[in-house]
Symmetry: C2
Subunit: 318 residues, 2 copies
């Protein structure tokens, strides 16, 4: 079975919806509480699949918070808190690791004003972290775009793809450890985006009333775009999302930068649609956040430069 088949089967069986306004199928579930909205999301991470070995324990803690809070940001809501469950394997059951991990949790929690308020600690075979973040908003923003909306992205994309490519080349023996370390030094912002990504909380809150739909870039643009519905995007615009160091890296290793932009996951930038692009741009400029328009929402079909756009995302398979 692949991930989608499993999710579809589970979703089909979860027929009881209670008082939820939104359940499975968006960045967060949504409930109304006394005229405001509670949004809630969960994200589970395993050492073997989610934490490249270049991450410090402090960064592992921070990344868990960011990945969860990013879904709150995608609803354009304000974080309220997070609970974190930890499964610790023998290898990690030492004071140094736990101390740094929890300091990393606290550091990012404070950054987003999203305190870690509870958790569960267990023995496990593999280091496992599960966060559940929740927040509040008077106006939750869903993935539902309107036809004619401009499709926009905050800041840039591609660095995480390059960072993972560096690790892949090292693991395959294409470059040695020394060359790998030099690459990390040569491209510090590429390394940083993998190790210390940031959720776009301020951005989400700032543009809440100006946009029609929003999600965060967690699986990679090629997959996340599909939540929008119909769209047309242009490589000329996508290239504006590529930062200078990604161009340089792509040239050095013969990678198409469009491929890097489309397949860079866990970037935690916001992908949103709006009919007020200029106003959004002006608002985000206030906090020095760039915004790039990459295309338009259309009634039907998915196109890149007038060619049919095929699903390019990664699916877990068992």
């Amino acid at each position: 079975m692949n991930e989608l088949e499993i999710i579809n089967l589970i979703s089909k069986n979860l027929t009881y919806k209670g008082n939820a306004i939104k359940s499975i199928g968006d960045d967060c579930a949504v409930f109304e509480i006394n005229k405001t909205y509670l949004v809630i999301t969960t994200d589970m991470m395993f050492k073997s699949t989610h934490f490249p070995d270049i991450l410090t324990p402090f960064q592992i803690g921070g990344r868990l918070i960011t990945a969860n809070v990013s879904d709150i940001a995608a609803m354009c809501a304000k974080p309220l808190g997070i609970v974190v469950s930890i499964g610790i394997s023998k290898e990690y059951a030492n004071k140094k690791f736990i101390d740094e991990l929890s300091k990393g949790l606290n550091f990012m929690a404070e950054k987003y004003k999203c305190p870690v308020v509870g958790g569960d600690t267990n023995k496990s075979n593999e280091l496992t972290l599960c966060g559940t973040a929740f927040g509040l908003t008077d106006n939750p923003i869903y993935r539902k775009a309107e036809i004619g909306d401009d499709i926009c992205i905050t800041n840039d994309l591609g660095r995480v793809f390059c960072a993972l490519k560096m690790i892949e080349m090292r693991d395959k023996g294409i470059i040695n450890k020394n060359q790998f370390n030099k690459l990390m030094e040569k491209y510090p912002n590429i390394t940083k985006k993998l190790c210390e990504p940031e959720a776009r909380v301020k951005e989400g809150i700032l543009i809440n009333r100006l946009i029609n739909s929003s999600c965060d870039i967690s699986d990679g643009l090629a997959k996340d775009l599909f939540y929008i519905g119909g769209f047309e995007i242009y490589s000329e615009e996508l290239l504006k999302v590529v930062p200078e160091d990604v161009f340089e890296f792509c040239e050095e290793f013969n990678i198409n930068p469009i491929e890097a932009v489309l397949n860079s996951g866990e970037e935690f930038e916001l992908l949103f649609t709006t009919k007020k692009y200029l106003k959004v741009k002006e608002e985000l400029k206030r906090i020095n956040t760039k915004v790039v328009k990459i295309g338009r929402v259309i009634e039907d079909g998915r196109y890149l430069d007038d060619n049919v756009f095929k699903f390019g995302g990664y699916l877990h398979r068992w």
Copy 2:
């Protein structure tokens, strides 16, 4: 390191508290939202440590919901929803398992009116489930008992201890598979309490205004009692908590029933303290829930039959 050392280290580092009214240290974290209180809790479970092999996939799903909702019940709050993250190993990545597991989740979710509204699905080395349940109440009940309170327990305790003893005897070869199956048939309610425990949601809501403190029996009475502070309990009273089949089982296998009562974890009964015992008893009778008074809250010290009571709970160790 043991569990307590790890929890203490993490707690010490989580200095940022945000707007939380209560964070780590109770059954749930608590936030105020427009004059009501949001309570939230998380519980992580691994195949190797949390799911005895006699559980069906349907029961595994149900138990995860119950374990989480039980902490909402311990706050005497009303469940609102739950998110569930799942790490699936190759062994369990099949339609039959996922189908039954998710039906079990939905069944118990509906029972508690606590819909599963989101989650995360991952590939993992070991079957891993993490739930985060949340609820609402106008009056969250904490673990803070008042001196002079009666200490009470809902229904009975001991069956889970006996069920795990059965499994232990089978695994150690003290009884064979055939004898084990006969025991399960002979003691159906012992088997049932392990496989299909229930959270005391109705009870918690019903007695919310009558009690001073509350928690759920998850680690076993011997450990959970320590949350109360000072106490004196009596074995004569504890014996009233033991159901008939546990007496019979204990006699058959030469176990002290007091030991069974004190060390039976994941019972999900409520342990609460009150100065209105008779009124509580009357209220709970309306839903056919028994309540037993086992002792009293005192200023200082912990006693069982006038002897000093030592910590008897289980600690994870790495």
